[in-house]
Symmetry: C2
Subunit: 470 residues, 2 copies
């Protein structure tokens, strides 16, 4: 049963398991105590710190173990902002950072600070010069991920680090998707990572803060981990995290060549096998193991379930799979289709046969999900031509006003499905208006226009206007 | 090699180990994902929450798993203060709470709030009526530990809960030392615990917040654990924590009777075996497994090392064992001797023979440590009478001014040792002044006076005045 969601969490690496078991008997005591059990725990903790620091490329005393990648980001951002508070309260992040960074940015705004969210292009890469422009006077910190967790696109960390250095602003790199997998470009002032992303256990994050970076540990004070991670250390998990980080690094180079080829195969075959599909993210400058695509006229959650039934575990950035019913902020920032979204992230050791099997079940999974929504059996052309279901499409032909489709109250992908059903009723050059109040429509209707080569005229409130081109 | 420091951290309970191993293979995925691995992780997390909630005595949806007891306290306090901010910004804590509570109180003050620290008596118990008096208009929250972590004294939680209910103020109970061991009195609004104190793994705390208690989760926002514990859940550790909590609860009643008797033996025998020793804490209303005593003329760190060499792991609240070189705030609040302080906390399963062996090695350990400091071979009476080492005691006989001992720059217990050496040079009824700038002297010189039955006349700056009584 292949698990293709390693970007959410990787299965425990055998070395992590082994190290964890070994450390359970030795690492349970309080490392701040002077007795032999405490000293033993301290030795394990110190050794794990050296191992992790070497992997990260920093000094052991620059590295703190936090309880998660999220905590590393929260603490790193809060600490750097507080440390440079007198110099200014401006924060720069990209629009496609992990939610932990964006939530920290919102907290900073709520606290009176200012934030620039640097835009990305359609591949998810931050715009050339975007950071340089955002690093205004009074910028306390800039944050950039090494690579995007949803679409795999690598960010220009080295260039942004240069811009930050020129402006005298520290750069925090969220390396959660890269640590243990690829070298993180130097030039960072702070770096965060998360062990369960590389096959370590849950409950361990890394926060490295270069010597000389102004940093004020957030309150309440605590003596553990240089004041950067309050609470009793989970040393067995920390030991397992460090040991597995070293292990995956030695395996990474060979494994990543293999996975990159498998992902290339998915990127090439999906659009051939499944009509009306868009593969997103940078095809070359990307994580080796991750690919994301979206399928018109498909419901992301139903698609996950269909693939789950077929034996494949993947994730999705579609709005229907989110607790807030909004599409992934990453897809939104990229301006790409969000409906029927599937992220595939291959664990180390994935076989070519597994990928081929995935490619063989995907077309039927998408077809069945589209059929459930009445998006028709024919998946090319305008689905409406073969649909027997008129749905809520209230046709109102006319020359000036044009046709109006009322999809208010309907969740994506329904508004797009109904649009696709009526487009052939519109004369070429004519305009159709879609009324839709699902937030995802703002993304998916323009994306549909791009993919079907019609003209998107824009939205006013909940009214989207589209001109038929062909 | 007996480990007598279970109050710092307990060795992993066999049930915790078993549950952890079982959950490693099932609980590594992201419980917020919809695929089978995610659903399996979610089921484990839900089951652990039900188990823990039953043990705590709350509903599962009132309980969040944090990454430590410290985090549970920090978040519980910050969340309750923020939730009731409009009603007032006063916080009430006892003077002997865990440092996590006191640090949260300091953070609250730094943020503009006010704090009352309720005093304790010489046993470490909060004063009768102390909370009722402190619950002034505008009190947002009161915090009280179930029992003290350094001296074992149980706090009057039920009485304080009544006072809080009468004042309409929520009570946060820090149950870290009691969970799994003894029933926590009801009446709390928030409750915090820490798994590694009951034999669970590190990296897991509990925070229960009763429905209806105003609570605003601290920023940055995060969707996990009802917004009360950001970051990826360490589910194997959580499963192990819940399973071991249930296990230790079933063993607690019988075990605690046994441990209570062993501690009674230590409490009775230590003063008989080691002269000039004070056993502190409430002799009856106390944790079953914990006892603390202090030894005049002894250095706490040296004593820990001597006991460690003799095979016993204990901890100490003496200033020399703290990174800040200040005595334990608990001993300070109680006004008891801090020098030569030893805390013994017995793990479940401790045998009577181990306790007897501890009692047999203790006198020699204390004697050797006292001898190293020149506190003399005779440990009763005034040590000075047999000492050959005049030390820094600068005798300056006189009728009006009296004798002055210059112990400036000397760390405790040296000032007290020098005082004991010169007291016989002072005529009965005469006064000796000790100059000492070690903070612990403020505690230890009055304690010495009480134990040796001399009159403590008070301190002015670094000058302590003592009148010889006999």
């Amino acid at each position: 049963m292949p698990y293709f969601d390693t970007a959410s969490s990787a299965p425990l690496h055998p070395v992590a398991r082994q190290a964890l078991l070994a450390a359970l008997d030795e690492g349970w005591a309080d490392p701040s105590r002077l007795h032999r059990e405490g000293r033993r725990a301290r030795m394990l903790l110190d050794a794990a710190r050296e191992t992790a620091a070497e992997a990260v490329g920093c000094r052991p005393d620059e590295l703190a173990f936090t309880t998660s990648g999220t905590r590393a980001l929260h603490t790193g951002i809060a600490g750097a902002l507080a440390g440079r508070r007198r110099l200014g309260r401006h924060l720069v992040v990209s629009a496609v950072e992990h939610s932990a960074v964006l939530h920290a940015a919102e907290a900073h705004e709520a606290d009176g600070g200012t934030v620039t969210r640097v835009a990305v292009d359609r591949t998810g890469r931050v715009a050339e010069g975007g950071y340089a422009e955002a690093l205004v006077e009074g910028t306390a910190l800039a944050c950039l991920q090494s690579a995007n967790h949803e679409v795999g696109t690598e960010q220009p960390v080295a260039e942004v680090a240069e811009a930050c250095a020129a402006a005298g602003v520290p750069l925090l790199v969220d390396a959660a998707q890269s640590l243990g997998r690829a070298a993180v470009p130097g030039g960072w002032s702070l770096l965060a990572g998360s062990a369960h992303k590389w096959g370590g256990p849950g409950g361990v994050g890394l926060l490295a803060v270069r010597k000389g970076v102004r940093f004020a540990a957030p309150r309440p004070a605590d003596e553990r981990e240089s004041g950067r991670a309050p609470g009793f250390e989970n040393i067995p998990a920390i030991v397992a995290a460090a040991a597995s980080l070293r292990a995956v690094r030695t395996e990474a180079a060979a494994e990543d060549v293999r996975l990159r080829a498998l992902v290339d195969r998915i990127r090439a075959r999906v659009p051939e096998l499944v009509p009306d599909t868009e593969v997103v993210g940078d095809p070359v400058r990307r994580l080796p193991q991750l690919v994301t695509f979206s399928c018109l006229y498909a419901d992301g959650e139903a698609l996950l379930h269909a693939l789950d039934l077929a034996g494949f575990s993947v994730s999705s950035g579609s709005s229907c799979t989110s607790s807030t019913l909004t599409p992934s902020h990453v897809l939104k920032a990229m301006g790409v289709l969000s409906e029927g979204n599937v992220r595939v992230s291959l664990p180390a050791g994935t076989e070519a046969e597994e990928v081929d099997r995935f490619l063989s079940v995907l077309p039927e999974a998408v077809r069945s999900v589209r059929a459930q929504l009445g998006a028709g059996g024919r998946e090319t052309g305008t689905a409406a031509e073969t649909s027997e279901n008129g749905g809520g499409a209230a046709g109102e032909a006319g020359n000036g006003a044009g046709l109006t489709v009322d999809a208010l109250g309907k969740r994506c992908p329904l508004p797009v499905i109904e649009l696709s059903k009526v487009i052939s009723d519109v004369p070429v050059g004519g305009v159709v208006t879609v009324l839709a109040d699902d937030e995802a429509a703002l993304l998916d209707i323009p994306a549909w226009c791009g993919m079907r080569d019609h003209e998107y005229l824009g939205a006013r409130g909940t009214a989207y206007r589209i001109r038929r081109r062909h």
